[in-house]
Amino acid sequence: MKKTILLLLPFAGLLWVPLYNRHDPVLLGFPFFYWYQLAWVPVTSVLIWMAWKADKQS
């Protein structure tokens, strides 16, 4: 169950486009739209890693 939520989070965070469809705030020159989505890459890696750990324990 916990594992399912971990794996569904990236879908929720990335497929609801109005959530991040804006220019501001800008970070290091990147509009929010771009850096928000790039930030999901390491976050997704960590989430999958947590799900992997949870898998191994059970």
């Binding site: 497929l15 800008v26 290091l28 509009p31 997704t44």
Partner: protein, 504 residues
Amino acid sequence: MSTSLPDNAAIGVFILFFVATILLGSTVRFWRPLLNRRKAATNHSQGEEWGLGGREFGAWVTWFLVGGDFYTAYTVIAVPALVYSTGGFGFFALPYTIIVYPFIFAVMPKLWTIARDGGHATAADIVRARFGSRTLELAVAISGLVAVLPYIALQLIGIRTVVEALGYTGMLPLLFAFVSLAAYTWLGGLHAPALTAFIKDVMIYIAVLAAVIIVPIHLGGYGAMFHAASEHLPAIPGGRVVSQDQTVPYATLALSSAFAAFLYPHTLTGILAAKSADTIRQNAVFLPIYTIVLGLIALLGLMAHAAGIVTTSSSQVVPQLFLAIFPSWFAGFCFAAIAVGALVPASVMAIGAANLIMHNILPRHSESVTGSRLAGLGVKVGALGCVVFLNAKFAIDLQLLGGVIILQTFPALIMGLLPLRLSAPALIGGWASGSLFGLGLCWMDGLKPVHPIAFGGFSASVSTGLLALGVNIVVTMVLGSVIRLALGASPSTLQPRQSMRRQG
């Protein structure tokens, strides 16, 4: 056009790196035993060795093999071209290549285990064993074969594009692309792409890191780059980056691409060639590293605007940007990286499709290496036909067309893993309806990957692949219920047959 013309240095460096990679990859059979004596005694048939690499790839090779599937002409040519033409909308490739990994993690280890236990090499094998239906096997195999043709076509366009950027015109660039792909795959088999995937990734990393560092420095930093690019693209009101009516296409294209990505025969080949289910899980953790670079490559489309590149052929955006910014010898190196980056995946795709023909489509189970090679060659000729006859507005439309076709195998292959009561006739009906519906829409819309729909107060353009998959699932469910009612069958008689093996 603000084009810097390539000189002999560019052409020389390009040929050197491109030819060296092909030679190294295609002669692998001869020098690999020298490095690795352990392999001397092998219990795999020659066909399984050529096609699946003997199902023995560990975490690192799988990482390069599976990750490399994304580093294709799709990434370095087609996505930047779309970003150049449409701005932020083309960036949907980024969410696509993120959400695909949780999906892989959840689904693919199960498929791998089923494939290993049953000795299956392809999606069609798995489906046949699970549902005991030769017709369904054929349906899934034909989808895989047809879907991969436009995807290989996109790779051929990638190679053609860089050869054109080197100053060649007419039929020669396409011929060059086709001949190099055919020669490389004929000689090398899957081991060639697995090992050259490493060379290819290193070359692409050098090219891309140079581009994402040097190009913004030229243009005064990322902030200035985004600003300059926005002046060349249509203004979007309300401080948004994509217009409001593009948000649904953006999300649905990302989702359908992610569902489709690992149904292709070549991507599934990469997964099934892994050593263990855990190798796949581990890879799902580390593969997203690729995606960061993919996002930066997509931005090359914006950088091209900022660098003043003006071209009517959007596929030329990245090569022209490299010619404008880099010294010509390094542009030549980058072109070789792009060409190898198209060649290696195209070869994996052709092998995956050849496996399907030999394994699942031909009536007699044939393991001859020559047969596989001939099948692979046939696949490449089909891809060449797609380049010549399909007139897509953007190169990326070819990849999305492949997605529409391959998504129709989703119910049989992926939903088949769930404890649902799916039966072969219902799945075949769903597959046929979804495929006809999807291809019909693509035909009517001129290969445009989204189709406008409206119901109630809601209207939006939705990914054609997802719409067709919806039709597919609904028909599968309805047919399934009708068949159950008509037969009055108890659920137990419709349980999938796990142990069914092929007779042929």
